[in-house]
Symmetry: D3
Subunit: 292 residues, 6 copies
């Protein structure tokens, strides 16, 4: 065990697999073994614990853990004071993004927050729901839901406040979205004390840099091609302006090797265009990390 | 749909499969289909909903449901006023029986409730825990646990209050049981209004009668044998006194057919004994229901 | 191998498992082994082959097989001349029952067979469909569908003729049923030559008798109870009139043992009623076969 | 724990599931839990250990265990002196029966034991093989095979001595059976000391009685029917002579109830015959145990 | 949804998984979701439908779809007039390649097409079979087979015409191949109208280019190495002549970096050879696409 | 089939999957098909057989096989004379590495080899065990264990000699390690005759080269970055000294492209450091093979 230790919480459940894989791509291999909730990791400076995303904010805020990965929703539900280390890490890639909505049966008379007066609402985010009702000046019965919230309408409750990624589960239950309360996404949080500690802060920033590099690489590839010197300008012109391509002369001084990192989803238009402009021997290479 | 309807809640999760099978043996076939939380049933007088055991007490007490199947633990945690239709149904058979205990790490200094002063306790039964602490006159920080409670000692909390059947999960986590807070078992509950309605009460009593009959049959078998008239008294003497066996003369007036319902677990001693006393052609027949 | 051989075809696919289990309950154990389409069976007088239900009628009619199990739909589609050995075997129990319907998109303008003029129809039963159109005097393009027929509306065809048990797949595809072309159910068929052969006919009738006995036993149980002589009439009066119960005097001449075979689904009303009328020690025993 | 303890070994591997199920039907429920090789059992007088069948004979013979269940092959291979408690238990039912054969490639020149001179033979039963060669006066290289023995011909060895139930694995490997060395079946064995101890011997005999009863019940059923007094003789005449059926007068003195235990595999001929002779309301009831 | 739409059919069943993966590598991600037969795709210009390969030719030819992916066998069986967009796409890579053969039992008297006179033949390609018989001037009974065709010999038919990749299923059924009717492979087809539309044609050509690039990359890798200037010629001489390697001077002017795309299966000979010729630091890099 | 053939044995069981995957990465694709123990391979010069690691040494030493992959433990247990082709292949990567230890119950009185006098020991390596006891001058009863060796303490034996990777199975069985007998790892072995044959030796050396290259690539990646000419020295200084990076001027003469192969596990420190020193556009590329 190292002199210094960073204690981090990783989200158990739906985000667990994605988080552990992302860390592996970033360079840390966690293995869930004998002590299931305390995965081992190949970095003696890190101690990790698997926790439900709901429990993470309090354990981080109370200092039981230095840092943790959880959703914005539970940070707000718990109302804790924590530092966001790298809100850009996941948010840009859409990992763990969803929104919390007010939903009712498609035939319901409820069409806005105002119509909730006196109604029965089921949700996992009872504090967020209470603030929402207060903001709209209505009084309603909010009850904690232990799951399957979307199935409780209309037999058990009048409305729900529920997280949804695409809305398809809601539609499948014949529900209508009335309002959006918040957009949530996965966050890396730390408590104030850990953030004030230079070693811990530097460690957290390195982790964030490599997580970002691994996430970026998922959508990007390296494109290499050979271009006759007469076509170099035309080819470069077709490449994304964002980033200067690397150009090197080949031994014969007539052909140039051009290579650049591009977004994978642009390739189906870009490759035919490059070929038209004279690029030859185009190859696409997968990447593990891209650090700008 | 029938004129009259009984709305009952069935427990989702660990008890679901056992409950649906028991109902099938009792004579009601539920099928979980398109609307997953609203199983259909081959009895037009019943409407069912699958709910977490935790949510059942409130929905029954509030009259959203007429009756439900849940655990004594959640009835007490919610502190609701409901009627127990058939506490004997499950209790006698050990189905869904477990106890809630106060547990600590095996090396902990905590040896009684008194030692909890100022400690951090994780549990799903926060109200039961609060009353327990109050009863013992100690003050401690009780936090709701979203699961994996036994893994939180000693890294995250000092003690837990957790349900356990055999204690093996606790032992596997190196925990020591300090005290038992309550014995819980599965209960059929109804609200006062449903119980006061003659039709609903009669329906609930019939359901209880058949559930009891199906449960009893799991442990019992019908034993039949032929006995020479000279040995009848000796054989009958070996049979459990509880219940008079059925004896009929066979056509030849020399042999008697003896049959009786016995507990399955007594057979390994009973059958050799009966054979010794002159019983012949002993056969054991499985039963679907036994209604005393 | 026996002197005489009955060659029968068993349906591969959705009915296979149910058919092999039914035969096992009836007393023939088929095992699907090395030669997958030629299951072995513990009766040297039988040779079996597994075939798609669609292919069965021709192979039976042409005399390649003596008998087979298939659906009425494919018998009619193939238009073959065969003997129905035991149409009552499956029909009464609802095994393999479904109907073929004309279905369109719920928003379609087609409301009767007349509206099919000039439309495109997908179906597996092209001959049945052609006769149906002829009967209604309309002309339409009927094309053979290789599966997933219900998904072809509205993008690929205007209407379909498709088999359905409960209509739920159709509803899930937003289809509306316009008309029912036929009710199909599972049938045991034989060709004329086999039926005219006394040995084969007797063998087929024995098989039918035992299949019927095994099917009947699925829904029935043996109910036994002890009744004081004063209550015997009241108890018997509550039992289904259909079949006389077996009553025997017990040794003491005061109690009678009453037993009778009843439909399982009547028990949830019958048992409480019998208890009210003085029946004691009611037990319910499962049955393997019931041969009237 | 009881005063007296019987230590028995149960076979791990291919016979494990069948053995544990058979014991459950006989009345002992073993559960394989935390200590996987030491299943717990609901009889305080028994301690059990799961062992490979190969290891059982030595552990029983050396007195480490009182009794065990293993195959005759391994008893002979180990050459130990043990008592066979109940060789009839499994043998009659074919459970765990197979034979050890000498097999060669179908094109091999080896046609009898004599042809093995100087050859290479792979087998798990090296001692049995050595005695076999000695008996035939030939010398060959016998090597222990760790598995997949049948695949070693012809690339790695010239012949194998291998256990086989139906010969189908041998045929699938294009092997030809040259000779049969022994028939093996599952045996219950005890050591001499345990057998000389009255309590242990009585315990072992009870276990054997109930295992036999449970095994017998697998192939048998109870057949009940009502017969008019005029037909009783004809019906009884059709029943297996082995065992006298139970006949009782019904209340009306005209009908008799006849019941008897019969082999399940005779039913497909027996039931049609009984019906022809006037039996009515024939029902077949499954059995858990049959103790003669 | 885009202004212009290309409607393509993808093959359901055995080719589905391979086709969707290939498209993903090419740059289009299809997801099979709620409407199972209508996968969504991340290109607003494409609408896709999953269809059995058998049904594809007609739907494309009739203009219900613009293009589709199916086998040459079904194009010929349906006898439709369509354009082959990119027959080289799959064919070169062996994806979906197999041949249709005439097969009989290994002991059959049938040794050529001529011997089929009056025989019974089962096949899925009844039209192809009919033309084949006509070509050979023989008359036989051809019947449509719904599957398991190879098992129908010899009990149900005399010969089959069946697709096979390696012949191993035929051999396992003891069948002998008499003749090969056709080689089939996967094809991208379009109807004449779509091909005449410049936008659709360009879209189809782009898709074909990228599918080809993704398929090519499966078998190729990028090989990089450093070579002293004295060894450059020897190393280059060992590289496949097909394609000029990229050579660049390193900063020190003594070492050159050589890189080239090579077939993966040549590496086990090529790498030892390159090392012998003085290449150092040889690394092999996987590729996503190779566009010549 | 080629003129020359190398016959190699591959280990069946726990190492099988890893070995076949490693060979695929090295360039040989084995497929386990119809003849399960004789995988086919896409190299006509190789014939392969899957064998238990225990059996490999004898088959190689006896010349039945030219070469094989097995563990050092079984080579020593069998005491055979073979050549180690490439002991570095697996050993450096930790694949198949574990040690054989003497273990006893944690409460046992045995604390060194000396304490084994007269004890009962179970193990799979009976010869290695015998030599170990001899070396320590003690006499004990060593018995061959067919598996589950660790469970035999303390009920069946006093000590075991068992292979273990991390010791966790031993700890879970409450065992204590007393001594380590040997470190084992996976080896490629050949017999003397094969090694003396130039063609076979060259073939084996090529295989070893490519296996080594594929194994090395698992832990390494190619790192590329652009560096301003002013920062080149600082960046290069941070790279591992082991291997000179490849540096090339880009077309603009101001930026250099630097690339180098590095150990994957160094990246989480290296990438942040490189960025601090001015490296830009850092990308990490996966590798298939690295041949020094």
């Amino acid at each position: 065990m190292a002199d210094q230790q960073l204690r981090i919480g990783l989200p158990k459940g739906s985000l667990q697999q994605a988080t552990l894989e992302l860390f592996e791509h970033a360079g840390w291999r966690f293995s869930v073994g004998a002590r299931a909730y305390f995965p081992s990791v190949d970095d003696p400076e890190i101690t990790a614990v698997l926790l439900r995303a709901q429990e993470m904010p309090s354990y981080v805020a109370d200092g039981v853990l230095d840092a943790g990965i959880t959703g914005l929703d539970w940070i707000q539900e718990r109302g804790v004071d924590v530092v966001e280390v790298a809100n850009r890490v996941y948010a840009k890639q859409g990992l763990g993004m969803y929104r919390w909505v007010l939903a009712v049966h498609e035939d319901s008379d409820i069409h806005s927050a105002k119509d909730l007066e006196g109604k029965r609402i089921a949700t996992e985010l009872v504090n967020v729901a209470a603030k929402y009702l207060e903001r709209h000046g209505v009084t309603a019965h909010v009850e904690f839901s232990w799951g399957a919230t979307e199935a409780k309408i209309p037999d058990l409750v009048d409305a729900i406040i529920e997280g949804t990624e695409t809305g398809s589960t809601l539609r499948a239950n014949n529900l209508r979205i009335v309002d959006t309360l918040m957009e949530s996404s996965t966050r890396v949080i730390a408590n104030q004390a850990a953030w004030a500690d230079p070693w811990k802060r530097s460690k957290l920033e390195n982790i964030a840099l490599l997580l970002t590099g691994a996430l970026a690489a998922r959508q990007k590839v390296l494109l290499k091609m050979n271009v006759h010197k007469d076509n170099v300008l035309a080819v470069i012109d077709a490449l994304p302006a964002l980033k200067k391509p690397t150009i090197s002369h080949l031994s014969d001084d007539i052909w140039h090797a051009v290579e650049t990192v591009v977004d994978q989803h642009t390739l189906r238009d870009l490759i035919p265009e490059l070929k038209r402009r004279g690029a030859e021997g185009i190859i696409e290479i997968p990447l593990n990390k891209v650090v700008a």
